[in-house]
Amino acid sequence: MGWLKSGTPGQRGVPESNEALKASLAVFVKTHDVMIRKLSYKLTAEVEASKDLYQQTFLKAMERLILPEYFALLSPSGTSEEKAAANWLYTICLNLYRDQYAKEKRWLNVVEPQYAEDSFQALKIDFVADSDPEPLEILVQEEEREVIESALRQLSDHYRIPMIMYYFLEYDLNKISEVLELEISTVKSRLFRGREKLRKNLTAQEFLTINLQKTTGREV
């Protein structure tokens, strides 16, 4: 890393030349490539859209990365800085998705209940044990996964985004609250309700062999 010159804490790792900056950007993209591919695909659920989101995420990030105060994110040192850089990039990706793709999808959300019911094929599957699956069981599990993923795609972004942040990005409630600018209690509610809706959708298509109650709770 000889091409990096030392600087103030806020400007640490400022590349000396244009070539050094390019190299630094290459490392940055390579480091976050897989996770941003997964995240953009998780959010958009479409290959073309996820590619677009992926590219916009890095291009948006670059607008900042070329500024001296962001060089610590471009060339993080240590696990905590790497994590901070990753979280920063995830937030860009999420915000781009919320700003652009989510708006395009809003019409779908408006008609979500009917859309969801109409689009599902009834599928009766009982769960199989997780341990030592046989080939047939693997096939069934794959089918289950597809059905759940399909149900997840039908879920409104209102609930889906907090769920992706919580489960996929493993953000804690505070972080989700901060990024989405919501109260923690609201985040909790959306997580809970998202799961409820997911369950409801899966139940509607007879994913379960038993009838679930309206909520997981008991009547009191």
Binding site: K22, I66, R195, G217
Partner: protein
């Protein structure tokens, strides 16, 4: 297959993600797009300069946008402050889309508006300054169990949340509902004492930044004591649930209350009902909260008290009372959150058999062990949620968020949340495991189905409003 298994499956799918097909080259393609502009630039330092220029342009655009936005906010804000003390303006503004709900937010509920219209606002205009913070108690509107407080804060901490409490003998706690936003010129809070009459002399304590600003208040009784008292001629049979005996209905300057006793039918457990009054025009006015009276004996006897934001000035002529049946309540242990989805304007929750309930209001904590300050076996909490509260930062995206007060709950403590859904309203309570809550239930007051008894005519006990 049980639900837990399904939950695990869902969680697994959520946690995992395959890569999109043919995406191996995305990084390379993207990197080309990123470094393309760098080719024509000599050094990184040039880039910084370019970045700064762009930043300056952006700042100009943002500044322009903010100026326009600020002008709008100031304009609307000015109107709203005007509305606070000008009921006619408030009434007109209530009809404006979007603005209306915020006007209600500022001038309070209908009962309070009506009281102000009838000149029941009592100016006080006393200030207390501690260090660099000055709080002015502008004035109050009061009836026997409600105190609307208008105040303002200047200097340090003017933008912060202030906890307001009333100090009367043998009464340690009250629910303060903040109708105003932080940093407003004049703020409005409403305090309800739930069953404890507000005396003519008391202290108002404002807690801000660890300091207490205490104002002695002497009420003008001629402005606050007027009430209308009703008695009901006969008990109400509530379908198969039991009999409700209305003991008395008091309608004060700001709010109304009904005291009632329920005699449940055989096998009926924890019956919760809602009440409404019907005014002379046939319009229903719902009692928006319900709480059991405080003594254990009264709880055992199923005595209840209902409240509504109705001013005595709103009600003349014939009145009727009707009943809405009980609604179903649910409890869930997922995420330690009790979740309720309801179509209702008001929710009352009761958390029995626990040692303490903490309600966060802003950064202040009110221990609501009991409205009387005692620790009964069955403490209760009553909330009002219909008042517009928090609006999501991006309403188009997230919908409207509602809450009684701006909550900043500690995850380890109880938290509350409510939001509007496609179906109506939803409500949740985050409960710390340590609280060992055994049951939660809600009483909902908006009739989902119009299952209402024939309204019963009620008569005034006196022809003229009584003055205590």
């Amino acid at each position: 297959m049980d639900e837990r298994h399904l939950d695990k499956k869902i969680e697994k799918v959520l946690r995992e993600q395959t890569l999109p097909e043919y995406s191996d080259m995305w990084a390379e393609e993207t990197l080309q797009l990123m470094i393309e502009p760098l080719g024509s630039i000599g050094t990184a330092a040039d880039l910084h300069g370019k970045g700064n220029k762009r930043s300056i342009t952006m700042k100009k655009i943002v500044r322009g946008t903010l100026t326009v936005a600020a002008s709008l906010i100031i304009g609307i804000g000015g109107l709203m402050i005007g509305a606070k003390f000008n009921p006619s303006l408030a009434e007109n503004m209530m009809k404006w889309p979007l603005v209306g709900q915020w006007v209600e937010y500022l001038v309070g509920k209908p009962g309070l508006r009506s009281a102000i219209e009838h000149d029941r606002y009592q100016p006080i205009n006393t200030s207390i300054k501690i260090d660099n913070t000055e709080i002015t108690l502008n004035g109050v509107v009061a009836d026997q169990q409600t105190l609307a407080v208008y105040y303002s804060i200047a200097g340090d901490h003017a933008e912060e949340f202030v906890e307001l409490s009333i100090e009367i003998p043998d009464f340690k706690s009250a629910i303060g509902i903040d109708f105003s936003g932080m940093g407003e010129e004049v703020r409005l809070s409403e305090i309800r004492t739930y069953g404890h009459e507000i005396p003519s002399q008391f202290s108002l304590a404002f807690s801000l930044d660890g300091k207490v600003f205490r104002f002695p208040v002497v009420l003008d009784e001629s402005m606050s004591r007027e009430s209308v008292h009703y008695e009901l001629n006969r008990p109400l049979q509530i379908a198969d649930y039991g009999i409700l005996e209305i003991k008395e209905i008091n309608i004060g300057v700001i709010n109304a209350s009904v005291k009632a006793r329920l005699v449940p039918a055989e096998g009926v457990r924890d019956l919760n009902i809602g009440l409404y009054l019907m005014d002379q025009n046939g319009d229903k006015i719902y009692f928006d909260s319900m709480g059991r009276l405080n003594s254990d004996a009264e709880v055992a006897a199923q005595s209840m008290e209902f409240k509504a934001s109705i001013s005595r000035f709103d009600l003349d002529g014939k009145m009727f009372i009707g009943i809405d049946p009980q609604r179903t309540a649910w409890q869930s242990d997922v995420l330690s959150t009790a979740y309720f989805e309801v179509s209702t304007e008001t929710i009352h929750s009761e958390l029995p058999k626990q040692s303490e309930v903490i309600l966060y209001k802003g950064r202040e904590v009110s221990a609501l062990s009991d409205m009387s300050g005692k620790q009964p076996d069955k403490p209760w909490i009553s909330y009002e949620f219909l008042r517009p509260g928090m609006i999501d930062q991006n309403p188009d995206f997230g919908g409207h968020e509602f809450g009684a007060v701006r909550m900043e709950p500690d995850p380890e403590e109880m938290s509350l949340g409510m939001w509007q859904t496609e179906e109506g309203m939803a409500f949740n309570i985050g409960i710390p495991e340590a609280s060992k809550v055994e049951r939660i239930y809600l009483a909902l007051f908006e009739p989902l189905v119009e299952v209402v008894l024939e309204p019963v005519e009620i008569k005034k006990s006196t022809d003229q409003p009584s003055t205590n």
